[in-house]
Amino acid sequence: MLLRQSINGVTYRFDGLKELLAKATAARSGDELAGVAAQSAVERVAARMALADLPLKAFVEEPLIPYAEDEVTRLIFDRHDAPAFALVSHLTVGGFRDWLLSEYATGHTLCALAPGLMPEMVAAVSKLMRVQDLVAVARKIEVVRRFRTTVGLRGRLSTRLQPNHPTDDPLGIAAAMVDGLLLGSGDAVIGINPVADDVASTGRLLRLIDMVRTRYAIPTQSCVLAHITTQMAAMKQGAPVDLVFQSIAGTEKANTSFGINLGILKEANEAARALRRGTVGENVMYFETGQGSALSANAHHGIDQQTCEVRAYAVARAFDPMLVNTVVGFIGPEYLYDGKQILRAGLEDHFCGKLMGLPMGCDVCYTNHAEADQDDMDSLLTLLGAAGVNYIMGVPGADDIMLQYQSTSFQDALYLRETLGLRPAPEFEAWLAGDMPRQLGTPMQVQGIAAS
């Protein structure tokens, strides 16, 4: 399909949906690196104008990657819910933006629409949206998921407590866990990124979290973010697996580079559900994503990084996950150059995930070679709070001493809850009001945890 847009007598041509989407995207160092970005500011707006006039139906007619070549494309087309799509199938992409912002698009309507939306439609409309649009529409959508806590209720903000340690030291991990719990962190999950990706140490760390959880009767879920196959092996050996984690991407080839495919995810989901460890629900999957991952695996098929990202949400959606978060600034400046690019990408990811029907959180973060600092993170954090993000990270002092990047602190979450009047997940809020936190705060608890 050849698409055209004339501006002041100059005609801009876009060879197919892939090129149109890429050129309509807000400036991104990763798209420039891939050679798919608009060549000028005017070409970018021309692409947006052409995109605004494109019928949403065009995405049902033209897959970005051939159906036969890519299992993510097959998933997108096979699972597309045409009756749900009928509500907006007459709209153009520009008309869809207007409709989303209108009073017709209520939270209830958008939840019913989600299965009818392909990721490319969602990516397309996000490219026409300003930051305030991304906030205003995402805010309407409530996506609630349950395991031992209920995460995503309106007026609530949860956190993943992330007590990483550069040598997986039980004492260091326990100290970070206790510090976070005492500051109200950990109602989305207590999740450790392990240094050693092996079955024995994954099992050890899972038992450590599980022991703290049961000893202090904490309503939350645990996760050790080893490779999914390592977690499954640990599960087979009887390790207490609550949530199963995996990084995912938006093309089959990129997922292959992660050592996974849809079959492995399905198997893990079924195995974890069969353990029936949840008390208030049975959402057991935890996925992380991030713009640029497909390009970094040279598996982007010429698709821009933001559209690839939304395709990863189609993968996540197939497994009804408890938690999904973009790790937005982790990948580095060759994909998201500075605070401005990270900020918009974080809000796009949250909006697109919610519109796809996912329980979106965000790791608000940056690395030291990106042009960003704490002020940029505070801005993104506050905007995500306004947009109704399900959860953010809780890292001691925002400084992850294992992964060597900066995320959000326990205090950042307290700031957001206080400033926007948000509360923790109800089960966890009740725990915080009880006597257990006082016991956890008495001397020698950390030493006791690490020794057992």
Binding site: Y337, H369, G397, I401
Partner: protein, 256 residues
Amino acid sequence: MTDTGVKRAAPNLRSLTAARVSLPMSGHSIATSEVLEFQLAHAQARDAVHAALDTEAFARRLRDELPMLAEQGVEVLTLRSCAVDRARYLRHPQRGRSLDAASAAVLKSMPCDLAITIADGLSALAVERNAVPLLAVLLPRMAKDGWTMGPVTVVQQGRVGVCDAIGERLGARCSLILIGERPGLSAADSMGAYLTWQPRVGRTDADRNCLSNIRSGGLNVEEAAERLMGLMKTARTMKLTGVALKEGAGASLLEG
């Protein structure tokens, strides 16, 4: 003392981890002293990322402080990658992996066992602090083990892959690159060392073996040199590096 409302939660867990636990707080926010400590750590990391490696001065230092090089007739050459500045280095990884035309022209075929490259990577500070001390320990051990050396190259705006371009032009059997790692808040001067058997353009990280966090307070140069010699010997025996070469496999191979 004025009471500004700053409190530190009990118990104090700071002695149990290097993580920023038990921070003093005012209300729900982190107290001034800790906010500034964080800013200082970030500033040090940022300065390390953007500091330039003065390659000429560094080459002089190598010649002065490592007289072994001159004794063995080993040249020290300064080179540039295709990334002309830091902004382009950060945005275009591929440019940091290739040599600019003038640098490529300097390199003539000179078959050798090992080509050593030193590159700024993401922290010039890391190589300025750690490269010379490491080589001071490593070079005598290499000489004793019979390794012949190509010229030592010092590269500005280099990524790990630049060692492939250099090793290929020289015709080196193996390449060792010492390079500044991405600075974290706790350390801005960590150096990495990557070993690549038969370096040639197009190698990936899966083809290399890496030692990380070489710095005072991390992996010290004595231990790093010891482990590198172990890897080099195993690489020479197995004629490969990368995922198939496991550290520690060397001893049994050599003994067996």
